[in-house]
């Protein structure tokens, strides 16, 4: 019934011609679903200033029609615009259509769109003027109504979405690699060849990953800890570049990656299935994945989904030798059950990811001098006996990640919708070093439990006047976390409790949007440090003996509380139908992670002794970005420039003694430089952009550029692991349709990565690798097979077999990157 309140509330605006009165809020006479609604008489004063004069010879008036959804206020493209009975056109992507050559007087318009009630509107037009008319379309009433998940509209930050065909072309690759061709995104590779995504130079702790709307909680701090996320879970991957603290959590300093599974089906009796088979050469092996979904007709409102994948890859080879022991065994399994009734719904979901990853035999932890000596080697010692096989031996990692969630959505009176999510995550990571035979277990064993409860309320659009409305949401989050660690001295156990409140409000006008958001978070953490480890921190000068109380407890309990505030202001201006400009100012703060506070041991990935700084405060970013998008008929461009000032940036860097020289620690395994986490002031700025052009129906050209610059403002030095500049270009040829084969394509792509010129040898260990160029090619087609759409593609990467090393890879100190790799992808989707 509430639907009617919003149905056909026609709002007409006369621009400067006449002041528009909002239509009466009362519901018009109810009409049966799907039936035409009688045209509403114009609830408007007659054009006051223009008494009907003798008709002039020309008709040069115009009406800029803007169709929007009555409920969500999203623009509605593809709506049919009729002048009386004559079809004059359809609305474009932004919901606009310009009716031209209108004579003075009253013009009757009719708007039709599948799934919506027909809207009829009469409008008074004056000569020589184009007036703007916003028309809200109300959805047809159905028995099962879907509350849109993504209530919030356009993202004012620079975002990129991978879905559909673009995502299909990335199937079979790990998460970071899937995203790596998005402008502004690079990868930070670990010793297993797995990688974590880097967005505008930020990764790990500063880049949130949300799986089905839930923050992925894992050991994201370790450089060699790739995210435990199977990209097959996603139907849509979104990269939000830039600080997004208000919406996603105060520590989203670098941005967010949203991994969204498909919505449950809602039409009773609907079924959908997709299957993927991917074979790989060089990294021999393959992936099998599938998803089935159904909404049984027998129980209205019920829907389910099952998804799974399995991957087994042998170690790949560089052009000269195998990357011994970098095979992977990976799998995921998930199930979702949903029930919708009226305007409420409940969803239960469980997802497990499991992987066993080998770490390259070439990765050896040496004392400083030996480490530096081996950097000079062309190829790893003993690489003649390296093999590209499936076997995974020590060193290796096993990870298990479970996510269980329950989510409810319901309507709160006529005010809006509420969504509440309760989630549990379990992350278990075990790392196995090369040891003597008598040792059987892992050397590093991390277990993290997280429980989270979130509630969000999205109010229905509030109409301020006929041109402006407000949309917004507010929410609360609560989190409890428990960390258990056993193994070689490294990080302590800890418990955390956290909570936050936020509100985001957006003023949406005809061609502009303004957004403001505010968030407050609190995090309390108690680390439980073994007395022995505690005393080490004391002796190393990182902590005073009484910092965590006077007692002699073992373990020592060290607690800290962090209050953080995030705020954002954003604006978007639609300069023309094709061209939009948006800008954003924001601040966000990230409390230090437990490892940054209490790390204590030799790092498993670097030849350094790592020490945390227990009294670190939160780091705070102040960021600004400007994004411009142009979406024309043949050209689409997105360009974005940004700057982030980060105060008290928590940075893991060489410890400098009072004499101004780096500190070295003598360990049983030799002499290692001491690295500590310290707060420095940093700045990151840069540019990323992409362009696609379709000069002809059969040709598509693409280009992307990512530039990141970063400085340590405290000593005006460089920062480590800042991705070098990347330039990509692609050319796709789409031959005309040929028999049953559709959507065939052949594409060539090249990427050029420069050498990082800005580096600090003391923190980087070795000079950055040379610039390189990689060539890739792909060909594919689609056809119909039975009741399925069959897609097939053959893809090759590094076709020249270029020998190269990546600056943002732990592997770069030891070995080259893989040579030519080939993938064959087959997939079936129900029609």
């Amino acid at each position: 019934m509430r639907l009617f309140l919003y149905s056909l509330v026609w709002v007409a605006s006369f621009g400067t011609v006449a002041s528009g009165q909002p239509a009466p809020a009362g519901p018009p006479a109810p009409a049966p679903a799907g039936a035409s609604v009688p045209a509403q008489p114009p609830a408007l004063p007659a054009p006051a200033a223009a008494p009907p004069a003798p008709a002039p010879p020309t008709c040069d008036g115009g009406v800029d029609v803007h169709t929007i959804d009555a409920e969500t206020h999203e623009a509605l493209p593809g709506a049919l615009v009729k002048r009386g009975a004559e079809i004059v056109g359809t609305t474009d992507e932004t919901g606009h259509y310009l009716v031209t050559e209108v004579c003075a007087g009253v013009l009757a318009l009719e708007i039709e769109l599948m799934g919506y009630q027909v809207a009829r509107q009469a409008v008074a037009v004056a000569l020589g003027k184009t007036i703007t008319l916003e028309i809200e379309l109300a959805e047809l009433e159905e028995e099962v109504i879907v509350i849109e998940d993504r209530a919030v509209t356009t993202e004012l930050r620079s975002t990129a979405v991978l879905s559909g065909a673009a995502l299909e072309r990335k199937r079979g690759r790990a998460l970071a690699e899937t995203l790596s061709e998005v402008p502004g995104v690079t990868q930070l590779r670990s010793g297993s060849g797995m990688a974590k995504p880097v967005v505008r130079g930020q990764y790990g702790r500063r880049l949130l990953i949300l799986v089905d709307g839930v923050r992925h909680r894992s050991q994201e701090w370790g450089l060699d800890h790739a995210p435990e996320v199977d990209p097959f879970v996603a139907e849509r991957l979104t990269v939000v570049r830039g600080a997004s603290g208000v919406r996603y959590g105060s520590d989203a300093i670098g941005g967010a990656v949203l991994v969204d599974p498909p919505e449950l089906l809602n039409a009773p009796g609907a079924r959908q299935a997709e299957f993927h088979a991917i074979g790989t050469y060089n990294g021999t092996g393959g992936t099998l994945a599938g998803r089935v979904q159904a909404a049984p007709a027998s129980v209205r409102g019920l829907a389910w989904q099952l998804q799974g994948s399995f991957k087994r890859l042998a170690a790949p080879s560089t052009p000269d030798y195998a990357l011994d022991n970098t095979g992977a065994l990976e799998g995921s399994l998930g199930g979702t059950l949903g029930y919708r009734k009226d305007r409420s719904e409940l969803k239960l979901s469980y997802l497990r990811y499991q992987a066993e990853l080998g770490v390259c035999s070439c990765l050896r932890l040496e004392s400083s001098q030996d480490f530096y000596d081996q950097l000079a080697r062309e190829r790893p010692v003993g690489s003649e006996s390296y093999r590209a096989d499936f076997e995974i031996e020590r060193p290796s990692q096993t990870v298990v990640h479970d996510l269980a969630l329950a989510r409810g959505k319901w309507e709160v009176g006529s005010h809006g919708t509420a969504i509440s999510t309760l989630s549990f995550q379990h992350d278990h990571r075990q790392e196995y070093e090369v040891v003597r035979d008598s040792v059987t277990g892992p050397q590093f064993n991390f277990r993290l439990f997280t429980a989270e409860l979130e509630g969000a309320f999205t109010h229905y659009p509030i109409h301020l006047n006929n041109r402006l409305h407000l949309r917004g949401s507010a929410g609360v989050v609560a989190m409890g976390q428990l960390h258990n660690y056993s193994g070689l001295p490294l990080v302590p156990d800890h418990r955390s409790l956290g909570g936050g409140v936020y509100a985001l409000e957006r003023l949406v006008g005809h061609d502009f949007e303004l957004e403001a958001g505010l968030r407050y978070d609190v995090l309390a953490r108690a680390a439980s440090i073994e007395r022995r480890d505690f005393l080490r921190l004391v002796r190393s000068g990182q902590l005073s003996e009484t910092a965590c109380g006077e007692g002699q407890d073992d373990p020592v309990e060290c607690s800290s509380v962090f209050h953080t505030v995030s705020a954002s202001l954003g604006a978007l201006r639609q300069l023309s139908a094709a061209w939009a400009l948006s800008g954003e100012l924001s601040t966000a703060s990230r409390p230090p992670n437990p490892d940054e506070q209490y790390l204590n041991g030799s790092a498993p990935t670097f030849p350094v002794v790592g020490l945390g700084t227990p009294n670190l405060g939160a780091e705070t970013t102040y960021s600004a970005s400007v994004t411009s998008t142009y979406k024309g008929a043949h050209v689409a461009v997105e360009a974005s420039a940004y700057a982030n000032l980060i105060d008290d940036y928590i940075y893991f860097a060489p410890a400098i003694g009072e004499d101004g020289l780096p500190i070295f620690d003598v360990l049983i395994r030799g002499t290692y430089p001491r690295f500590i986490t310290k707060a420095v002031d940093a700045v990151f700025y840069g540019f990323d952009g992409g362009i696609t052009m379709q000069p002809a129906r059969w040709l598509e050209l693409g280009g992307q550029l990512s530039l990141v610059r970063a400085r340590n403002r405290t000593d005006d030095g460089p920062l480590v692991f800042v991705p070098p500049d990347q330039l990509r270009g692609s050319l796709t040829y789409r031959p005309p349709l040929c028999g049953p084969v559709a959507d065939s394509f052949v594409s060539l792509s090249g990427s050029y990565v420069t050498r990082q010129q800005d580096y600090d040898l003391a923190a980087d260990f070795a000079p950055p690798p040379k610039a390189y160029f990689l060539l890739g090619a792909e060909a594919g087609f689609e056809t119909t097979l039975g009741g399925y759409r069959l897609k097939a593609a053959l893809q090759g990467t590094n076709l020249f077999g270029t020998r190269y090393r990546e600056y943002t890879s732990l592997m770069r100190y030891f070995a080259d990157q893989p040579g030519t790799q080939v993938l064959l992808r087959l997939s079936l989707h129900t029609l």
Partner: protein
């Protein structure tokens, strides 16, 4: 006060969950730790043994390790044994036995300015090293050795390195020429990883 309340809440929540899941600290069970390297020099012709220990009882980081200086007499041949321990365990764990058990993939190398021998090319150095033990393949292990001191005064460093060299894809990494590789090209040219590498100061007065 709010802070205190939160901390209190946190302490109270040393949760049922926490108690249930806490599998305790297992430092030591991972087993790879060596804290102590002890050398025992026994004159071949008899007499009291001289011992020197590199000891880092709290493991990596924290307190700096202690290293005993080595003072040897001129012109004496010493039977020298090496012992590795993990003193984080109580009682201390003797790692030497495990090294002996896996002697086909372990070797102790002696380098430094005070050493001339299979792994160190320092003619005229204060000490001359020779291996006296062998593994099943007849390759040296380095748990038992002889060090002959020079007839003249001298001093320098003695670096004791325990290298773990497990086979890669069934190809042995430890070979009869491993010491030669270290002597000619350094450890970076040798497969495997260091389990220990400690430096002593040697003086022959």
């Amino acid at each position: 006060m709010r802070l205190t309340n939160l901390s209190l809440l946190l302490s109270l929540s040393t949760w049922a969950l926490g108690a249930a899941c806490d599998d305790g600290h297992d430092h030591g069970n991972e087993g790879e730790v060596i804290t102590t390297v002890a050398l025992t020099f026994t004159p071949a012709s008899g007499g009291p043994a001289i011992t020197a220990t590199f000891n880092d009882p709290d493991g990596d980081g924290g307190a700096a390790p202690t290293v005993d200086p080595i003072n040897l007499a001129r012109g004496v041949t010493y039977n020298t044994t090496v012992r590795f321990e993990n003193r984080l365990e109580n009682p201390a764990e003797d790692i030497t036995l495990e090294v002996a058990d896996e002697s086909d993939e372990h070797q102790v190398f002696f380098t430094g300015t005070a050493v001339n021998g299979p792994a160190s090319n320092q003619s005229g150095a204060a000490l001359t090293h020779a291996y006296t033990d062998t593994d099943a393949k007849g390759q040296p292990i380095g748990l038992a050795n002889t060090f002959a001191s020079a007839n003249a005064a001298g001093s320098g460093t003695l670096i004791v390195t325990l290298r773990h060299m497990p086979p890669v894809n069934n190809t042995a990494v430890k070979t009869a020429t491993s010491a030669t590789t270290v002597r000619d090209s350094g450890f970076s040219a040798l497969g495997g990883e260091n389990d220990a590498s400690v430096t002593f100061q040697v003086t022959v007065p």
